[in-house]
């Protein structure tokens, strides 16, 4: 087992985007919509075709914090534990009005099966075509393996990266860094108000 659990540092040997920079915009196909009260896929077609407009973009989430979680692959053991943990913490993230998004290079159908199996209640985004383009823009793509890094980003309501963390690939980074970052955002807002 790796000893390298949870170093809470922003950058490692690879350079993920650090705090203070604008978060690169994206629009990716999603397993779920975050737009409330909007049916994005005709129920009858749900399983046969790709939902025509089920995409999530960063800009549509302006006004609330975003937790963006890049992970290597659906179905891999560590990823499974990680998404299950975050799923369990959704009520806590919602307390901060934060939107949680998972992202990997897996395609929509793979994501859908994974999300169903793990009963995920948050969207998984497909950074599938062009492959890993969004992950690259966040410095969270592993060229040599063709998968995303295990990298976490907390983006504030104005679209600026406030915290990021690159985890060793085989280590589940847990949630305390995310929770600390959300809390720090909250206290800043209170000071500003």
């Amino acid at each position: 087992m790796s000893k390298a659990k949870n170093q809470q540092e922003t950058s490692g040997p690879n350079s993920v985007l650090g705090p203070g920079v604008p978060a690169p915009e994206f629009k990716l196909r999603s397993t779920q919509s975050l737009r409330p009260g909007r049916e994005t896929s005709a129920p009858g077609f749900k399983l046969q075709t790709l939902p025509p407009d089920q995409f999530i973009s960063l800009s549509e989430l302006r006004g609330r914090p975003v937790i963006l979680v890049f992970y290597p692959a659906d179905w891999s053991p560590v990823c499974g534990d990680q998404v299950v943990l975050y799923n369990e913490l959704l009520p806590e993230f919602q307390r901060f009005n934060a939107a949680l998004l998972g992202a990997s290079v897996d395609n929509y159908w793979c994501h859908l099966a994974f999300a169903k199996d793990r009963k995920l209640r948050f969207p998984l985004l497909s950074d599938f075509e062009p492959k890993g383009a969004v992950a690259r823009s966040y410095g969270a793509y592993r060229q040599q393996d063709g998968i995303c890094e295990r990298a976490l980003f907390v983006i504030d309501a104005d679209g600026t990266v406030r915290w990021s963390y690159l985890s060793p690939l085989d280590v589940n980074p847990g949630a305390e860094g995310i929770l600390d970052a959300l809390e720090a955002l909250d206290s800043k807002r209170e000071v500003a108000a």
Binding site: M1, S2, K3, A4, K5, N6, Q7, Q8, E9, G12, P13, D81, Q82, V84, L85, N87, E88, L89, E92, R118, K119, L120, R121, N172, P173, G174, A175, E176, L179
Partner: protein
Amino acid sequence: MTQARMIRAKLAVPINEERDHVRGPRAAPVTLVEYGDYECPYCGQAYYVMKDLERRAGNQMRFVFRNFPLTTVHPHAERAAEAAEAAGAQGKFWEMHDLLFENQQALKDQDLMEYATIVGLDIPRFVREMREGRYLNRIREDFLSGARSGVNGTPTFFINGLRHDGSWALATMMAAIEDAAREGRR
């Protein structure tokens, strides 16, 4: 390796003897905390390791259990945790804790009822508190304290407040307990 700059996660909420379930000598130099889930198979294996460990560590160690039910993948874990807490309210936490881990395959409500009878609980009270969800908040508090402490799966252990990132095999745990006892930190 980049290990030198690793920071080991720390227990965010210290042990509170009034609130926490603590087994073993109060004056022990080492406190081992487990965040666990009654339906998690790894926790089930770890349960027997912990039993051996407690026996071998003797006066060196006390053991604390906190709830970390992963409810979406383990549908009975939260009910089981509630049953343990309800038993705890009647002074029988560890009896129920042990029974649950020894019977992980049978954690439906009717099973929990049977265990309540076996450990000798006041059944009407047990039933009432289970129906009310009396201990759900407490379980959620445990869960969040775990998340804040760097619990990233179950079981996760803390030895004298620092997360134990190695394996939880008996020999490894025993060595870690002995190290902590020597360091004398608490």
